[in-house]
């Protein structure tokens, strides 16, 4: 057992969050899925929600997310996490329900489900991992792949004539009235990770306040399928993805701003 207790003249500055299960993840070295998991767990700890939360895992590299959080969890069919979360939340409106979905799952096969969960203003939170590729199946083109991006199913680079354009889900969902909070953040360096965590916290606070659907899109890395080192992957997010997927707040409901204002006072 690791000694993670402070010595006499020390204080603990950072420790692994309680809500993050002790199980080792299967993610590749440097994959920011792990970072996203950790941030969610930290937020659930800080908000005291561990015992109140139900996770809906999805299909993709994060299929085992249910093993990595110490919360009640289930595993949805590909793309259907928002529908399954709807069933749970409607039955347990007093619980915190969140989905964790990748870009193939959310923006492709589950496009209908995510749009309708937003449109109903379903009071759930979605953490959306955009790494511009299908990770689990081995690096195929995703709806979020960049124009010209070479993948195992777009070997000549994504051609818009053949395969359309990168999907901007945070902006798209922000345009739906039932959405209370829709933002995009990135996980490519420490400063952005800190900003991402704040957004995740706000998203869960939106759910706690009961004001509608909240989603945080996180630009994330896939070093293995991109064929880069973890460090280079972060640079690629910064240099290639951020220009295409601008970071920012696309919808922050007035009620949420008011609620946050109140909680700060």
């Amino acid at each position: 057992m690791l000694d993670t207790l402070p010595l006499e003249n020390e204080r603990l500055v950072y420790a692994r969050p309680r809500t993050l299960a002790s199980r080792y993840t299967h993610y590749c070295p440097g994959c920011t899925h792990g970072t996203a998991h950790r941030l969610i767990a930290e937020v659930l700890d800080e908000l005291g929600l561990q015992d109140e939360t139900i996770l809906v895992a999805s299909v993709g590299c994060s299929v085992f997310a249910y093993d990595y959080f110490d919360v009640d969890a289930c595993e949805a069919a590909h793309g259907r996490a928002p529908a399954m979360a709807t069933g749970i939340k409607r039955y347990h409106p007093d619980k915190i329900v969140f989905t964790y979905q990748g870009d193939g799952d959310l923006a492709s096969i589950g496009a209908a489900e995510i749009i309708h969960v937003a449109n109903r203003g379903e009071n759930i939170t979605t953490i959306f991992i955009n790494n511009a590729i299908y990770g689990m199946t081995g690096g195929q083109m995703a709806p979020t792949s960049l124009i010209g991006q070479k993948t195992t199913s777009s070997p000549f680079g994504r051609d818009t004539q053949l395969a359309g354009y990168p999907m901007h889900m945070a902006e798209l969902l922000a345009g739906i009235p039932g959405t209370a909070y829709s933002v995009r953040r990135s996980l490519h360096d420490a400063r952005h990770v800190i900003q991402a965590k704040k957004a995740i916290k706000t998203a869960f606070e939106a759910q706690m306040a009961g004001i509608g659907f909240s989603i945080v899109e996180l630009l994330s890395t896939c070093p293995t399928n991109w064929g880069m080192t973890p460090g280079d992957s972060c640079d690629w997010v910064r240099d290639q993805m951020v220009p295409v997927y601008p970071l920012g707040d696309f919808k922050v409901a007035d009620e949420l701003q008011q609620a946050r204002g109140r909680s700060k006072r």
Binding site: Q50, D51, E52, T53, I54, V56, V63, F64, Y66, F69, D70, V71, D72, A73, C74, E75, A76, A77, R80, A83, M84, A85, T86, G87, I88, R90, Y91, H92, K95, I96, A112, E113, I115, H116, R120
Partner: protein, 358 residues
């Protein structure tokens, strides 16, 4: 409670409510729409969960979620929607949560039409999603039985933590008959121990159908098979009329069985000894009962509102040496009593696998 004149679809819905259904998700499709409409009013009145989903795919996954959360949950649809929901059935079966599905069958394939049919026999009894499992399949023939079997469906779903279908053709969904509704059951005070309710005071629960290792998935499957065998031995239901003295046994379910009963009166008047075996559970199927009848030298006439789907199960039950004839109507046509009488004459005149098509 006194008899009321009830439409099948409304009877299914109200029976579900009285059986304790506390969450419903669905999508409109004829000829089951009155069922969804009934739920949309009553569930809201009672403070229970009702939601019209954006598609059948979403509906079944909402059902899956609510079941995982501990709800006594139901959806309803008709054939094309039932096809679309297959993804969810398999996940529900794999993660062993209780769900009731009502299928008011219509003509296919494709968009087909909205007329009554029994075209879903294969998909509900044989192929309700990928993987090795059977839902329990209940097939009412009257509005009263629609009520009784819907209540039973909730009990079986909970008892075995399994998927239960109640299938009826559009005629049963649309017809009105006098029937008696059961009293309203109280809702359970709390969710089952395995349900997702937030892990307060206990270790987290997981509802899941993913088992990557071959051994672990086979272990799950062996357990599911054990459960299915237990269901087969405990939950078989069928009705027989005059089979012992019969030369010819008609095998039919749902509306086809009702029409066969009318035909049997004519045949009896003609002095023909004819009986009826009506499966009430389509799965489990009365294989042994049919086998026993075949050993006493009877001929069989299978009547269905399809091209001969249950026919295969009857043939498998009675073996190659028993004569089995078939009469079916498709495309939403309901067989007429006179047609079944003629098919019975044919079956007796040419007992060796005489096929009388539509």
């Amino acid at each position: 409670m006194a008899q009321q004149l009830l439409k099948g679809n409304n009877a299914f819905a109200e029976a579900a409510i009285r059986a304790g259904c506390d969450a419903y998700f669905g999508y409109p499709i004829t000829p089951q729409t009155e069922l969804l409409e009934h739920m949309s009013a009553r569930m809201i009145e009672l403070g229970r969960v009702f939601l019209q989903a954006e598609s059948e795919v979403a509906a079944i996954n909402m059902v899956y979620g609510a079941a995982a959360a501990g709800a006594k949950v139901m959806t309803s649809s008709s054939s094309p929607g039932i096809s679309l929901m297959q993804e969810g059935y398999s996940y529900i079966a794999g993660s062993e949560v209780p769900v009731v599905i009502i299928d008011i069958m219509r003509g296919g394939p494709g968009l087909g039409n909205i007329q009554p049919s029994q075209s879903d026999y294969f998909q509900v009894t044989k192929s309700a999603g990928h993987g090795d499992f059977h839902p329990i399949v209940l097939a009412p023939a009257t509005v009263q039985e629609a009520i009784d079997l819907t209540v039973l469906a909730f009990d079986l779903a909970q008892q075995y933590r399994t998927l239960v279908f109640v299938v009826a053709d559009g005629a049963i969904g649309q017809m009105m008959e006098p029937a008696e509704l059961p009293p309203m059951r109280p809702l359970p005070a709390r969710a089952p121990d395995w349900a997702l309710t937030g892990a307060k005071g206990r270790s987290p629960n997981l509802v899941n159908s993913l088992y990557l290792g071959a051994d672990s998935l086979e272990t799950l499957n062996l357990r599911l098979q054990d459960k299915l065998h237990a269901i087969e031995s405990a939950e078989l239901r069928y009705e027989t009329i005059d089979v012992d003295d019969a030369d010819l046994v008609i095998v039919a379910f749902g509306t086809a069985a009702r029409v066969a009963k009318t035909a049997m009166q004519t045949l009896a008047d003609e002095g023909i000894r004819v009986g009826l075996l009506r499966p009430i559970t389509l799965w489990p199927f009365p294989t042994e009962a049919l086998y026993d009848l075949s050993r006493s030298g009877k001929s069989f006439l299978v009547v269905e509102m399809n091209a001969g789907q249950m026919l295969l199960d009857v043939k498998a039950a009675v073996g190659a040496d028993a004569p089995v004839s078939f009469f079916g109507r498709m495309g939403g046509a309901i067989p007429m009593p006179e047609e079944i009488v003629a098919a019975a004459h044919n079956a007796l005149a040419q007992p060796a696998f005489a096929w009388a098509g539509a």
